[in-house]
């Protein structure tokens, strides 16, 4: 079978768009394996020197540690809070519409606005800027993602599952732990991964509300103002690979289960 001209045309356009849009993403990865001299990439000498110097960069490692701490705390808070809020919304309780609007607001607002609002708030209540304020800022921002992921799963579960559990003699607590949680866990895991990925990359809010410690993207931002170094390429490459891995993981956690529930 020969391809029709329209098919070939479509394929060509798709390829062109893909190359134009996404190839810049791979430039730092490629160039991180070469030396840079006088602002130019020397293609003749492949090296991992950039990675070695990155590993020895104390500031980067400190920033990485801060990022991981912030990410872990954000994940804990947003998964716990997002699940509770989704359960509240699903329970058809009062004020659910307004609540949902408020949850989505920080996610939809420009980050600089959210960041400024938080900054002003923290100053008003006298909360010193630190990693704690960063965690709060990130949680407010990513809560919507976890909430939505868990709520979607909750809504796809048949109401009769919970009814069946009560009907068979389970208490509310048993129903929560034995029926709801196992069926929500993969959605919570998927939400957690997405929350971590968002927290990991978040820059704007972090710059505004952080104290003396900086997270990895903020560190990167600072490094860039001093000019490009191979370290930056290496760091960008690592972050990029890590984010892609997280997204693949999130997709794997989230999708198969949904197929299973649909088949049921």
């Amino acid at each position: 079978m020969t391809a029709r001209p329209s098919t070939i045309f479509l394929a060509a356009v798709t390829a062109l768009v893909a190359v134009l849009l996404y190839s810049p993403l791979f430039v730092p990865i490629v160039s991180s394996f070469f030396t840079v001299a006088h602002g130019e990439v020397v293609w003749s000498s492949p090296t991992v020197a950039a990675y070695v110097s990155l590993a020895g960069n104390k500031e980067i490692l400190t920033a990485l540690r801060a990022t991981l701490i912030v990410g872990a705390c954000t994940v804990l808070l947003s998964v716990g809070g997002g699940t509770l809020l989704a359960l509240y919304y699903h329970g058809r309780r009062s004020g659910r519409g307004a609540l949902q609007f408020i949850i989505f607001l920080p996610f939809l607002m420009p980050p600089i606005i959210s960041g400024l609002a938080l900054l002003i708030f923290f100053r008003e209540v006298g909360l010193e800027r630190s990693l704690l304020t960063v965690v709060i800022g990130h949680t407010v921002f990513v809560l919507a993602i976890v909430y939505r992921t868990v709520l979607t799963r909750l809504q796809s579960l048949s109401r009769s599952l919970v009814e069946a559990s009560y009907d068979l003699g389970a208490t509310g607590w048993q129903t929560f732990w034995r029926v709801l949680m196992p069926n929500l866990s993969s959605a919570m895991a998927g939400g957690a991964i997405l929350a971590f990925a968002l927290s990991f990359d978040e820059t704007m809010i972090t710059i505004l509300v952080t104290g003396t410690q900086s997270t990895l993207p903020v560190r990167l931002w600072a490094m860039m103002r001093l000019g490009f170094s191979p370290d930056i390429n290496a760091l960008v490459a690592l972050i990029l690979i890590f984010t892609v891995l997280l997204c693949v993981l999130a997709a794997r956690v989230l999708i198969p289960k949904q197929v299973a529930t649909a088949a049921h």
Binding site: S158, S160, L161, E163, A164, S165, Y166, D167, L168, G169, A170, T171, Q174, R178, V179, P182, N183, A260, T261, A263, H264
Partner: protein, 390 residues
């Protein structure tokens, strides 16, 4: 171990087969509903429902969609609160008993099997939440699965089962807790016809064996006739009639039941005189004689009251012999072969508004003796005809 053996085991260990109180013969009321009403906001769905469920019976709640039949089941199960009225179990008010303390279990329309648990996990759930020792759970799960003939499926997940198998898992899960009453909410609605027939027989045989009371909700009157000891017909949130399938089929107490319950011929008219167990009614077919045996309200209804003469399609037959009762002639409009039987549609009189009757005859290989547009003499026996007040 065969299903039969496991049944014996169930009995010996005092599973649902055990009955308390009165003996088999004098069936006592297990559960009574008194003036039960239910509204969703301002929308009433049940009006003043009174119902007594007898211990050990197979009672079907039958009605078209929106008749409130599922609501009755959900109120009994405790899945929803009543607006008013009370529910008594063995004479004790359980209206406020929470769902997880009621000794009833439900087979849901969508089965509601827990997708994250195996078949064994699903069936054992009711025992495990009550902290029954693990060994006993394993033993009783095995028994229950044998009973529903799914012994080898214990380790499968619900998604790996067919519709009929899921149905049986749901049943095993409901009966393992030895409930006083099993509530079944249109459990066969999702199955195809052949499987539905099998499951009807299966359900009935299990009910007979374990002798637990079944409350079965359906909109399928054929299903109801085939399975039930008694049927409760509902319409628009009210119980219209409660009785054995035979009573409902031959002595419906209102036009709704007469029309809803199987094919029927209803001819409107005005009541005439009573002669013993028979009463005449004047209709477009002439004066018809119908039985009023055992129906004092029809015997005592005033002359001239509006009513229907009712006779089933299988009661009508072609007859040249004229004995003066329930005899008339009609023109065959259509003859339809329906497998084991053949249905003829008959117009009586030339008028367009003239009554149309259905006659059902056993089919013969040689074909029907009737053909369309033929005029035939028809009659039915007075004892096969009944009256329904309109």
């Amino acid at each position: 171990m065969s299903g039969r053996d496991s049944l014996l085991l169930l009995r010996r260990s005092g599973l649902p087969g055990r009955r308390q109180g009165p003996s088999m013969n004098e069936k006592s009321d297990l559960l009574t509903l008194r003036s039960v009403s239910k509204s969703y906001g301002a929308v009433p769905v049940l009006h003043d429902v009174n119902l007594a469920i007898r211990d050990g019976e197979f009672l079907t709640v039958l009605g078209p969609s929106g008749s409130g039949k599922t609501t009755v089941l959900r109120l009994i199960g405790g899945l929803e609160p009543m607006t008013s009225g009370e529910i008594r179990l063995d004479g004790q008010d359980i209206s406020r008993m929470p769902i997880n303390r009621r000794p009833f279990n439900t087979v849901f329309q969508d089965y509601a099997l827990f997708p994250h648990l195996t078949v064994a996990g699903n069936v054992g759930y009711g025992l495990s939440v009550r902290h029954v020792p693990r060994k006993e759970i394993a033993r009783r799960v095995a028994e229950a699965l044998e009973l529903v003939q799914l012994g080898s499926f214990a380790k499968r997940y619900p998604t790996q089962l067919s519709g009929g198998q899921r149905q049986r898992v749901a049943l095993a899960r409901a009966l393992i807790c030895r409930p006083r009453l099993i509530l079944l909410d249109e459990p066969l609605a999702a199955l195809d016809l052949e499987l539905r027939r099998q499951m009807q027989e299966f359900l009935k045989s299990i009910q007979r064996e374990i002798k637990t009371t079944f409350l079965f909700v359906t909109h399928d009157q054929e299903e109801a006739i085939g399975m039930s000891d008694r049927i409760c017909v509902m319409q628009a949130g009210r119980i219209r009639q409660l009785g054995t399938p035979h009573e409902l089929y031959y002595k419906p107490n209102c036009e709704f039941v007469a029309r809803f319950f199987g094919e029927n011929n209803l001819v409107p008219g005005t009541l005439g005189q009573v002669q013993g167990e028979l009463r005449s009614i004047d209709t477009a077919l002439g004066r018809l004689i119908c039985s009023v045996a055992g129906q004092p309200h029809l015997k005592n209804a005033p002359e001239g009251a509006c009513a229907f003469a009712m006779f089933r399609p299988e009661a009508l037959h072609v007859s040249e012999v004229h004995d003066g009762k329930n005899h008339f002639s009609g023109k065959i409009v259509d003859v339809a072969f329906a497998g084991s039987s053949t249905v003829a549609i008959i117009a009586v009189g030339e008028d367009r508004s003239a009554p149309r009757l259905r006659m059902r005859l056993p089919s013969r290989f040689s074909g029907s003796a009737l053909s369309a547009s033929e005029t035939v003499a028809l009659s039915f026996a007075p004892r096969e005809a009944h009256l329904v007040l309109s």
